[in-house]
């Protein structure tokens, strides 16, 4: 048995997965520390979900092997929602060997009928996988803000805009978001002294333009987050780290986007 895990109350996981489902085929990586699910599009955006092993009621990984495979995200989300909103199902994931399907057993303990659903999702093997650490690319400037205000600002910024410019500066007006599109231009700034900002580290000014539509992918997930960390670097790579708290359990989402002009 390469990997097995059990979890009850996975509502938050389901919500997050559903929110990021802009593409099928998600990379499934069970690791010692927890489960990492990665979605990637054409090498310009990457979104990863980290589910720490502490969230699971039982979590076992074969540490000798590097386990990595792809599954259909759409099917996985469908299976997770097999019981709909009702009950408090318990889920068990198992992955026996390389090339084997991912087995999911759902038991609905709350309902008297005691229904068990047994599913198998076919997996895809990965041959050439490069695990590149992107974190170092964006360690120049960093801001941590409350997710609620960032969601509000991003969703109210010009919705028909094509481009979003993110500027972090050590001087006034500090953190600036500018959306430009056919309908005009919208701009908003947050001061580093704002109550909404918890951390502001900035030495030099960085400014880069991103595709607004890509940022919108992460906007849905951000609605479930508590805090968001935005960091940028010289190369223009943008990193958003989202922290989600659900009943004293934490979950993380990491998002990378490349800038439009290098």
């Amino acid at each position: 048995m390469l990997f097995s895990a059990e979890i009850t109350d996975f509502k938050i996981i389901y919500n997050v997965l559903k929110a990021i489902a802009f593409k099928d085929n998600i990379l499934f990586r069970p690791m010692e520390e927890g489960l990492k699910l990665t979605l990637e599009e054409m090498n310009y955006i990457e979104i990863s979900i980290y589910i720490p092993s502490s969230i699971f009621s039982s979590y076992n990984v074969d540490s000798n092997d590097e386990i990595i495979f792809k599954i259909s995200l759409k099917k996985f989300v469908e299976v997770l929602n097999m019981f709909g909103d009702e009950g408090n199902p318990n889920i068990k994931l198992t992955y026996a060997s390389t090339g084997a399907p991912l087995c999911i057993v759902l038991t609905n303990s709350n309902i008297e009928e005691n229904i068990t659903v047994d599913c198998e999702i076919q997996t895809l093997n990965l041959h050439d996988f490069h695990d590149i650490s992107l974190a170092e690319e964006c360690n120049t400037n960093k801001i941590v803000v409350n997710a609620s205000i960032l969601v509000e600002l991003l969703s109210r910024l010009n919705n028909s805009a094509d481009e979003l410019k993110v500027t972090l500066s050590p001087d006034q007006p500090y953190f600036t978001l500018t959306a430009t599109g056919i309908s005009g231009k919208s701009e908003v700034s947050i001061s580093k002294n704002s109550q909404e900002v918890t951390v502001y580290q900035c030495q030099t000014t960085t400014s880069a333009v991103y595709c607004f539509n890509n940022i919108k992918h992460v906007l849905k997930v951000m609605a479930y987050a508590d805090k968001v960390s935005i960091s940028t670097g010289e190369s223009g790579l943008l990193r958003l780290q989202l922290v989600m708290n659900s009943e004293d359990r934490q979950m993380f989402v990491e998002y990378y986007a490349t800038s439009q002009y290098m």
């Binding site: 600002l153 028909s160 005009g184 700034s189």
Partner: protein, 408 residues
């Protein structure tokens, strides 16, 4: 121009924008010293909506007099789809302190500055403007002789009795009662529809002043929109109209703002036309500041009679009103044509009865629509007048031996 909408009025502003957004795709903003007008019109020109925000609606209302043109206004045109997302969401009054609108003459942008309540966050939206045009509505809201006032709750209850699938509503107005139907008598029965009729006494309305009994048929969608707006602020609605086939005005008033709807109507009883051939609302779209055009060219443009080409060709078979600004009386073009045409026929018919049929065909083609049942009977009486005269005249031939056998 520098206007500030306080947070507590944002709810009204956003709701009004969304209400107008349900009518048209473009928003015409007209600024004058006393008020800010938001006007929109649907593409078929059958519904217009106007929102007047009085200067008391704003916490600060400053207009630079140099910006105003000769008519004392300054206008711009914005696309609805760009403007509406700025005011989406609920509880705007809790999120924002104020919204400031800035706009100057000859500017390509209108600026909305939204000040958040939390911290010092200020969001600036520069929205690109479309061609500088003004929309003038050629009717005023309270000229009709019939006025009905109701509460929004009452209207909502009334609308609840009709299905969401109904497109039109018909009011049969008498001096002391109103019958509301989703069909008109004589219309072929459509399958899978429910015919509803609501009888209302005049006393059920807050105001019911009828000077001319009529039947008025109009689109339900703008009516629903109006009721929906009025209900969210528990305001009263006033319906003002003259008769079916003349525009109906719905008026919603508050001390600081006014919302008007102008809806084209038809009267299915007045003629045998299809009910949907309603006259459009008389409106005019004018280019305002053509700054790029030289004075000479402008003179030429002004002297050109644009209307001529339209009027000489009666290509439009259904009497249809093309933007006509200056007079509301012209609105009912086809009625005028009927009135002009009939006497002419009469004089011809007296002389040569043989040409009746030919003349008939000609006149019908000329008018572009078939004459009403009523006028046909009139003409039959006129042509075959002798048949309806008494068959016996006592003056020429002594005593009556038997009474008239013919009845009309």
């Amino acid at each position: 121009m520098n206007c500030i909408i306080p947070g507590q009025n944002l709810k009204v502003f956003a709701k009004a924008l969304y209400t107008l957004g349900k009518i048209g795709d473009n928003l015409f903003v007209e600024v004058s010293k006393k008020q800010l007008k938001l006007i929109t019109m649907n593409s078929r020109k059958t519904v217009c909506s106007q929102c007047n925000l009085l200067d008391t609606f704003f916490s600060n209302y400053e207009i630079n007099e140099n910006d105003l043109d000769s008519t004392g206004t300054m206008s711009c045109k914005i696309q609805m789809k760009f403007l509406l997302p700025l005011f989406k969401g609920t509880h705007l009054e809790k999120k924002f302190d104020y919204v400031k609108i800035e706009f100057t003459k000859h500017s390509d942008y209108i600026v909305f500055r939204m000040k958040y309540k939390c911290d010092e966050i200020l969001m600036t939206h520069n929205l690109r403007l479309m061609d500088t045009e003004t929309l003038t509505i050629g009717i005023s809201p309270d000229t009709g002789c019939n006025t009905i006032g109701t509460t929004s709750a009452f209207c909502n209850q009334l609308l609840g009795m009709f299905s969401n699938l109904d497109n039109e509503i018909l009011f049969e107005i008498s001096t002391n009662k109103a019958v509301v139907r989703n069909y008109f008598v004589g219309e072929p029965v459509k399958s899978k529809t429910v015919r509803s009729q609501v009888n209302l006494s005049g006393t059920e309305f807050t105001m019911y002043s009828i000077n001319e009994e009529t039947v008025i048929n109009f689109s339900l969608k703008p009516f629903r929109t109006a009721v929906n707006f009025a209900e969210s602020f528990t305001l009263n609605l006033t319906l003002n109209f003259e008769r079916g086939d003349k525009p109906l005005s719905i008026i919603i008033k508050n001390p600081t703002f006014e919302l008007y709807f102008f809806i084209a109507t038809s009267n299915p009883q007045s003629d045998n036309q299809k009910a949907n051939s309603t006259n459009s609302i008389p409106t005019k779209v004018t280019q305002t500041n053509n700054t790029d055009i030289s004075e000479e060219d402008r003179q030429v443009l002004l002297n050109e009679n644009w209307e001529e080409g339209f009027n000489s060709e009666s290509f439009d078979r259904i009497p249809h009103k093309i933007t006509n600004s200056n007079s509301t009386s012209k609105n009912n073009q086809f009625v005028d044509i009927v009135e002009e045409a009939l006497p002419r026929k009469r004089s011809l018919l007296d002389d040569e009865n043989a040409n009746v049929m030919e003349q008939d065909g000609e006149s019908e083609e000329f008018n572009g629509f078939s004459l009403s049942q009523n006028s046909k009977t009139k003409r039959v009486k006129l042509v075959l007048g002798r048949c309806f005269e008494d068959s016996f005249s006592s003056q020429t031939l002594g005593n009556v031996l038997a009474p008239n056998s013919d009845s009309e």
